[in-house]
């Protein structure tokens, strides 16, 4: 089982570690060396320095035979493009992208990759919370 995590900020690095702990072979990708620090000194997986749209780097990370690709950089549009590249060009079976903007998340739904929209999730949770408030008489 091979996974590539593109974008190793708070979310990506934590996810990379979880995947590794559950037995996945993980290649982490980030534009900045600092991402390695977030992965921890003893990160046992691969790390590739580069932009997620760089196909040479994705191929070096083994995208051709990856079972899953998770795209969680801080740019919605980068995530949208890399997810489509993973799905359409490399035919990776499972692809997920984080998209903050709910409008773009909706537009790119049902294109063969999963979308995680933290903004929509927060709105839903807070809406639920609001509806549970007991109003003072």
């Amino acid at each position: 089982m091979k996974a590539i995590v593109v974008g190793c900020g708070r979310v990506g690095s934590a996810l990379a570690k979880v995947l590794h702990a559950s037995g996945w072979e993980v290649a982490a990708v980030d534009e900045s060396e600092e991402a390695l620090r977030r992965l921890g000194e003893r990160w046992p997986g691969e790390f590739h320095l580069g932009h997620g749209m760089d196909t040479a780097m994705l191929e070096a990370a083994g995208i051709q035979d990856a079972d899953a690709v998770v795209v969680a950089t801080d740019g919605d549009n980068t995530n949208i493009v890399v997810a489509q590249v993973a799905k359409l060009r490399y035919e990776v079976p499972s692809v997920a992208a984080r998209i903050h903007d709910p409008a773009r998340a909706k537009f790119y739904a049902n294109r063969g990759f999963d979308i995680v929209s933290p903004t929509s999730a927060a709105i839903d949770q807070l809406t639920e919370w609001v509806s549970g408030i007991e109003v003072r008489a």
Binding site: T55, N77, I80, V81, L88, R89, F107
Partner: protein
Amino acid sequence: MFVIIGGGGKVGTNVTRTLLGLGHEVVVIEQNRLRYESLEEEFQHRARYGDATELHVLEDAGIGRPPDIVVAATGDDEDNLVISQLAQERYGVAKAVARVNDPRNEVHFDLLGISPTVSATSMVMALIQHEVPQHELVHLLELRKENLEIVEVEIGLGAPADGKRIEELRLPDTLRLISIMREGAAEIAVGSTELHAGDQVLAILEPGKEEDLCELLLAGKG
């Protein structure tokens, strides 16, 4: 014509100014505050502040009408890809022209069906190759929709075409010669045109059929 331009940097600004000068209706969207302010000074209400990859920003700019053309001219290829996809697929804009900043990203535009693209780097490279004679085959123009390309080749010494008339070459249907440049003068290629080593030939062909052309015109390839 109504045109929306995403990105008011050097490219976006100059395209806006030129189109306005030609009497077209233009809206240019810029997300950098300082740059927007100078655009607003020059173009007034035709400049809009915001991120052109956000649906509501595009809608405020009038993408719902829809425009005849959307130009995705930001400095970020991922943004240009998303602007073009939104324009074509969400709002039914007939034509989206995208700027490609890093030529390595051109494959992504192809993959996602965004054409035509404009890459300054690729164009400069094509011009440089045009000036460097030892390159065997130079791609001058790609007509993607038509699935044709125009290339330039210099006829090699002793090539199968050297010393022959064009009508003798039995060119395949996927390939035609356009013109011959010899000693600084160009002439239209016709059946009776005789080809010689050193001639610069312009040819039109289907992409991928370059091999046929090279076999005929380049030495030692037959």
